[in-house]
């Protein structure tokens, strides 16, 4: 692997991977929370119950912090297409530039025009316009995800393009490009996963307050809404969206599916490995424990379906980091399954009316919030590692995409810069978010006591 260190593509990939993984920690929460804000604001308008407005005010602050870090870490992503991946931009800019520009024009303008109104405008705007601001921000953030997923969907499964006279890519059909089936499924899967993150974070804060015995009305609200959305979203992540996504990979990137599952040889009744480490040198999965036939069934619909193995593809078409791909995929699946189980237990307790009093469950819910972030990241690692060695699947190799004029010295310098800057940014974000959570929602009136509780 030592030779990698001289490879400019390696450093540009590492920088892109680091900056995008870091960036995506923030939008996944804003997209998830946006749904909660709209829902609570709507409930506040319908019922007139002030607790919903308190919840919106509190979460809008957390939202604002996430939004700001999301904005500042997002701009480097667009720039890197040009700075580090200029050969790719030259080749595919006519296609992918369309959606990147549309993201600015349709999504970011909408989001950033209303974000101020959402966070600070409640008094000046009145409840109806405040709801409208929440809807505007939510719509903007989901639209931005859609347009980015169209861009990524094109890289995974190119459609609607043509080769221009000068050998670059151009658009043949805007509708085919925008309605790429890959992008639609990936969007559904991704947005449900973002809702899982939102739900787990809302639930965790609710559990934190419930365990400390403070803000009990708000804690109850967060726990109820959070666990309900958490259950629905974590089920939808797996089925139908995750299932369809895997079938899509099986249909269009069969070699990726084989690598994700560590299938070195093909055959019917292909199993899903629960445990096992891929050993690329020996071409086998070590100490595997498999559910027989599961992969055949999940990917192609019957237990007898033939799943192709890695040995059926030339080695230069294999994803270049099969081990990491395999673990990303398997850990994502494991976490997704645990999310469903945890949320089922939580909803059972909620149904029994014991959610706020089961201490052990609250502890688990409070500590569970980092895992959806990990699962989201692993999902994206699966998608992007699985696409290798292609930058645009079947059309353009990753090794052809990086900027030839940028030296490794330049890339390593900027990578170091990002590492330092993002480390500080992370500390700052955690400190300020922790401070908001410790401060909590506005003091509420305890029934009967008739006095402000100041936490």
């Amino acid at each position: 692997m030592d030779s990698n260190l001289y490879d400019p593509a390696f450093w540009s990939r590492l920088q892109f991977a680091f900056t995008i993984i870091y960036h995506y920690l923030f939008p996944q929460l804003t997209m998830g929370l946006a749904g909660f804000l709209v829902y609570w604001k709507w409930r506040a308008l319908r019922t007139g119950d002030e607790k919903y407005n308190r919840a919106v005010r509190f979460w809008a602050k957390i939202f604002g912090l996430n939004f700001a870090v999301g904005v500042v870490t997002g701009i480097p992503m667009e720039f890197q297409f040009g700075t580090n991946w200029s050969e790719f931009s030259k080749y595919a800019g006519g296609v992918i530039g369309q959606t990147l520009a549309m993201e600015g024009m349709f999504a970011f303008f909408l989001e950033s025009a209303f974000i101020g109104a959402l966070i600070w405008g409640e008094k000046r705007l009145g409840p109806r316009y405040h709801l409208l601001a929440a809807i505007g921000v939510a719509l903007g953030s989901w639209l931005s995800a859609f347009l980015i997923l169209v861009t990524n969907g094109f890289m995974q499964h190119p459609v609607g393009y043509q080769i221009e006279a000068n050998g670059t890519l151009g658009i043949a059909s805007l509708s085919a490009y925008l309605l790429n089936p890959w992008a639609l499924i990936q969007f559904a899967h991704n947005q449900m996963a973002a809702l899982v993150t939102g739900a787990f974070v809302v639930t965790a804060v609710g559990a934190f307050y419930a365990l400390r015995g403070i803000h009990s009305t708000q804690a109850g609200l967060y726990l109820r809404t959070g666990t309900f959305v958490g259950l629905v979203a974590s089920l939808l992540v797996a089925f139908p969206t995750g299932d369809q996504q895997a079938k899509m990979v099986g249909r269009h990137q069969p070699v990726t599916l084989a690598a994700m599952e560590g299938k070195f040889t093909g055959g019917p009744m292909a199993g899903v490995a629960v445990i096992g480490q891929p050993n690329i040198g020996a071409r086998r999965l070590e100490n595997p424990i498999e559910v027989p036939g599961a992969l055949s069934f999940l990917a192609y619909g019957t237990f007898q379906s033939y799943v192709r193995g890695l040995d059926e593809f030339p080695e230069d078409q294999w994803p270049d980091n099969i081990e990491l791909l395999y673990y990303s995929f398997h850990l994502m699946i494991t976490l997704g399954t645990l999310f469903i189980m945890l949320m089922m237990v939580a909803n059972f307790q909620r149904w029994r009316g014991r959610l706020q009093s089961s201490t052990w469950l609250l502890w688990v819910l409070m500590l569970a919030f980092p895992f959806p972030y990990i699962a989201n990241t692993l999902g994206w690692m699966t998608a992007e590692l699985g696409r290798q060695p292609w930058l645009i699947y079947g059309l353009f190799h990753t090794r052809d995409g990086f900027s030839k004029v940028v030296s490794n010295g330049d890339t390593i310098f900027t990578l170091i810069g990002f590492t330092g800057l993002y480390f500080v940014l992370g500390l700052l974000f955690l400190y300020l978010t922790g401070r908001e959570i410790a401060h909590g929602p506005d003091g509420e009136v305890v029934p009967g006591a008739g006095e402000e509780v100041i936490a």
Binding site: G64, L65, A68, V69, V71, V72, I75, P76, E78, F79, F81, G82, T83, N84, S86, E87, S89, K90, G93, G94, I96, G97, Q98, L100, A101, M102, G104, M105, F106, F108, F109, L110, S112, A113, F114, G116, I119, W120, E164, A165, T168, G170, I171, A172, L174, S403, K404, V405, V406, S407, D410, F413, T414, G417, L421, L425, L432, R435, E436, H439
Partner: protein
């Protein structure tokens, strides 16, 4: 025709960005000088506060459109300006963060630190954008394949293998710094009251006076560095439009500043930026990036354009997106009209 139209649209987006975010660079640079007490400093931040990300979106939308319409230009320029662009990015990160978190805690040290980050990042942004504009005017060492890579500086000469900084680009950078500061001062005069308003209005006059000799200087320098430019420019109607805007802006600005009409002065100041940038964009057309090695290596709008379909499809969504954006702009201008007020709660200032 199509390509010229899209050159105009892309230029329009970049010019809009500078006209909108330029005030923030300016206000940021002057932050320490016009605002002395913590309350006054919060006033300056509040004048920029909720809209900086909206302004930055213009740059993002410009970048995306440039990639869709002129992919080869974006690829060549972004890779070539590698280090400068990352410095700009880091400054953007620091500036955005300093605006957002500075007010979160009512504490002298905390706010003092973020004020420092805010001022420094805005200075650097104004200088870097100025140097970038100078680089576009002067040209970069494009080879026959239309690629280049550039160090920060080489021998400070303006031909051959140039660096990002030389005597010409440095003077453009200084000009940009002063004119953006003048613009920012004019903006702060409009948006604030009390001591900040008084100091800003005084500074605005001095800074605009400083703009005049600097402008004459860079005009002469530009003629020396690129003697071929005026020859193209006189055939471009937009160049005259730019000059007209500059002329109109001078009248508006002077009458606004001398009579203390804050809105009129700000409109004049904004027109000035727009007019100068339109003049510049029209003067270099159709060359988008000039080669200091050999003029035939230059990247023109025609040889960097994407396929014709990319233009056609962009013609569908761009007007729609622009119409929506105009709608938001009306909403924003109404909502944030007038002088700023600073409000705070127990967790900090907003």
């Amino acid at each position: 025709m199509m390509i010229a139209t899209w050159y105009a649209i892309v230029s329009f987006m970049l010019i809009t960005y500078i006209a909108l975010d330029g005030r923030n660079f300016g206000a940021g640079m002057l932050h320490w000088f016009v605002a002395k007490t913590p309350e006054e400093r919060r006033q300056v931040i509040a004048a920029i506060g909720p809209l900086w990300s909206w302004h930055e979106v213009w740059l993002v939308a410009f970048g995306g459109t440039l990639l869709a319409i002129f992919p080869r230009l974006l690829a060549s320029a972004f890779a070539g300006y590698y280090l400068a662009l990352f410095l700009i990015l880091w400054c953007f990160i620091l500036r955005g963060i300093s605006i957002e978190v500075g007010g979160h805690i009512n504490d002298r040290l905390w706010q003092g630190f973020w004020d420092f980050v805010f001022v420094v990042s805005n200075f650097l942004l104004a200088i870097l954008f100025g140097a970038a504009a100078g680089n576009v005017a002067r040209g970069v060492p494009l080879d026959a394949q239309g690629n280049f890579s550039m160090a920060f500086f080489t021998d400070f000469k303006t031909c051959g293998y140039v660096g990002l900084l030389d005597w010409y680009t440095v003077s453009i950078a200084i000009f940009a710094m002063v004119i953006l500061a003048a613009h920012g001062a004019t903006y702060l005069t409009l948006k604030t009251d009390g001591a900040v308003n008084y100091r800003s209005s005084r500074l605005a006059k001095y800074l605009w006076m400083a703009v005049v000799p600097l402008f004459l200087l860079i005009s002469i320098e530009t003629f020396v560095v690129r003697p071929d430019l005026p020859g193209h420019a006189v055939y471009n109607p937009f160049w005259y439009l730019g000059l007209l805007l500059v002329a109109a802006s001078i009248v508006t600005l002077i009458s606004g500043l001398s009579t203390g009409r804050e809105r009129r002065a700000f409109v004049g100041s904004k027109l000035m930026l727009v007019g100068l940038l339109v003049t510049g964009a029209a003067a270099i057309f159709p060359v988008m990036l000039y080669s200091t090695l050999a003029p035939e290596n230059s990247l023109t709008a025609y040889n960097v354009a994407a396929g014709v379909n990319s233009f056609l499809f962009a013609c569908i969504w761009w007007p729609l997106g622009f119409a929506l954006t105009t709608l938001y702009f009306v909403f924003i201008s109404r909502r944030y009209a007038g002088k700023v007020s600073v409000s705070r709660d127990s967790q900090g200032t907003y």
